[in-house]
Symmetry: D2
Subunit: 156 residues, 4 copies
C-alpha cells in the first residue's frame, strides 16, 4: 500500500464568495502538501476546494451522493457514484486520515460528529465549535498545517 | 399504508443508571402513546428505552449495525441486520417521524445533525444543545408529549 | 433475543396474475408457520406475498429503497426507509434466516446470489435455477415447508 | 466533468494462476485503452488486474469493503474505504461505464446481476453465462475491446 495522505474537506454545497475563497486557498495548500483531497464532490465549499487543488496540480476525489456523474463539480480528478444520498458522508470520513470542516450547517455538523466518533482528527475553519475538534481557526494555512500533521501522526 | 407513528430514540450504547431510568421512562411513555420505538438496537440508552416500551406493551424495532442478531438487546420486538456499521444511523433517521436524543456523545450528535439536516424534529432530553432542536429538557414527559405532537404534525 | 423466524421474499415489483397468486399463497403459508415475512416492501410479488401474510394474520416488514413511506405496499405491518436504492437488498438478505425467490428477473438474481454468497438458504419458486439453491419447485407448499426447515436448522 | 472511462473488474478475491494471468492481461489492456480500472480492491482477480494495469501505467481505484487501508492490494492507485461489506459492490457498479466479470462465484454473480439490472454492459470472461451479458469469451483482448466500445456508447 502506498503512503498517500487523504484529507477530507467537509462543507456545504453552496457558500458565499468569502468562504469560497477560503476553501480554494485550503485546496491549493492541500495540493502543495502532496495530499489527496476527498470530498462529497458537489458545489459550494467542495467545488472551491477542488478548484484550488487542481489549479495547484493536486488530485481530487468526489464521493457523490447519487448515480449521475454530471452532479460532480468540474474539478474532480475522479468521481465515485454511491447512490447512498447523505449516507455517502460515512464513506468520506472512513476514507480520510484527517479532515477540515469549512463553514457549513447541519450536514457539516454531522460529518464533524462522525469524525469525532471515528477518531478522525478534524479541524474547524470558520465552522462549528464542538469539543474535541483539533483547532478552531480562520486561517487556511494554520488549518492545513495542522491537518497534515495530524494525518501523518495517525498513519505512523 | 397504515398511520403508525415511528419515534426514534438516539443515545449511547452504554450509560449510567440515572440516564437508563430516564430512557426507560421515555420508552414506556412512547408505548403509552401507541407509537413504535425505533433505535439502533444495542445496549445502554437503547436497551433501557426498549425495556420501558416492552414492559408497557409497546413495539420496538432495532436497526442493528452488524450481521449478528445476538448483538441486539433482549427487548427488541423486531431486529433488522444492516451490516452498515454506524451507517445504520441514517436508516433510523429516515424511518422515524420524530426523535428524542437522550444524553449521548459524538454518535448521538451525528444522529441529531442528521435529523436537523433531514427536517426530522428532534428533542433533546439531557443531550446536546444544538440550534434547531425542538426542546431542551430533562423531563421525559415533556419530551414525549412534544415528540408525538411534532410527529403527528409531520404526518398530516 | 426472541427466537422468531424471519423469511425473505425475493421477487419483482410487478408480476402477472398467476405469479401473484403463487406469491399470495406463499405469504399465507409463511404466516401460518408463525414466521415474519421480510421483503423489499413494494408491489408485484412483494405486495401479493404481504397480502397473503396479513390476511392470514401474519407480520410483514418492508425494507424500502427510498425515503417515502408511501412507496410501501398497503400490506406492510412495519416499514423501514433506507434511502439506499437497490442497496437495500443487502439488508433484506442479512436480516432473514432463509428466503424464497418467486419468479423475477435480474434484481431477483442478484438477491439470490447474495443469499448464496452469505450462506442464506434460498428456495426457487418458479425462479432462477442457480447451482446451490435449495430446491427448484412450482409448489408454494413445498417451498415454504423447506424454507422453514432450513431456517430452523440455521438458527439451531 | 472530464470524459474518462471507468471500467469495472468483477471477480473473486482468490483465484488460480491461469485466471490471474488472464486478469493481469485484462488489466494491462484496460490501461492501454486509457481507461480507469475500478474494482473491490482486494486480492485474487482484483489484485492481478490491478497489477496488470499499474505495470502498463494505468490508474486503479479500489472500493474496499472495510475500514482498513491495509486490506487493499498493493496495486491500487487510490483506495476508498466504505465499511459497507459486500454492499460496496453496488458502489462499484454505479461508478463504472461497463464491466468485465472474470471467472468468479456467487459474489461475482451478484455483481453481474446488479450490472444487468442497472443497464451497465457486462462482459463474461470465463465467468457466468447469464442471458443479457454482452459476450461470453475466453479472450482478454476481445473482452476489453468490447467493454471499451460499450462504455463509449453509453457515454455518448
Amino acid at each position: 500500500m502506498n503512503q498517500d495522505i487523504y484529507i477530507g474537506i467537509l462543507g456545504a454545497h453552496s457558500c458565499d464568495e468569502s468562504i469560497a475563497e477560503i476553501a480554494e486557498t485550503t485546496g491549493s495548500l492541500i495540493a502543495n502538501s502532496s495530499a489527496i483531497l476527498v470530498c462529497g464532490g458537489k458545489g459550494g465549499v467542495m467545488e472551491a476546494a477542488c478548484r484550488g487543488s487542481r489549479d495547484a496540480g493536486g488530485t481530487t476525489i468526489g464521493i457523490l451522493p447519487g448515480n449521475d456523474p454530471e452532479e460532480g463539480n468540474p474539478y474532480l480528478t475522479y468521481r465515485i457514484l454511491t447512490g447512498l444520498g447523505e449516507g455517502r458522508n460515512m464513506i468520506i470520513i472512513r476514507s480520510v486520515d484527517a479532515a477540515i470542516a469549512i463553514s457549513g450547517s447541519y450536514g457539516t455538523l454531522s460529518e464533524i460528529a462522525l469524525c469525532l466518533r471515528a477518531g478522525v482528527p478534524v479541524v474547524s475553519l470558520k465552522s462549528w465549535d464542538i469539543p474535541g475538534m483539533e483547532l478552531i481557526t480562520d486561517s487556511p494555512e494554520k488549518a492545513v498545517e495542522l491537518v497534515i500533521k495530524k494525518a501523518k501522526e495517525k498513519n505512523e
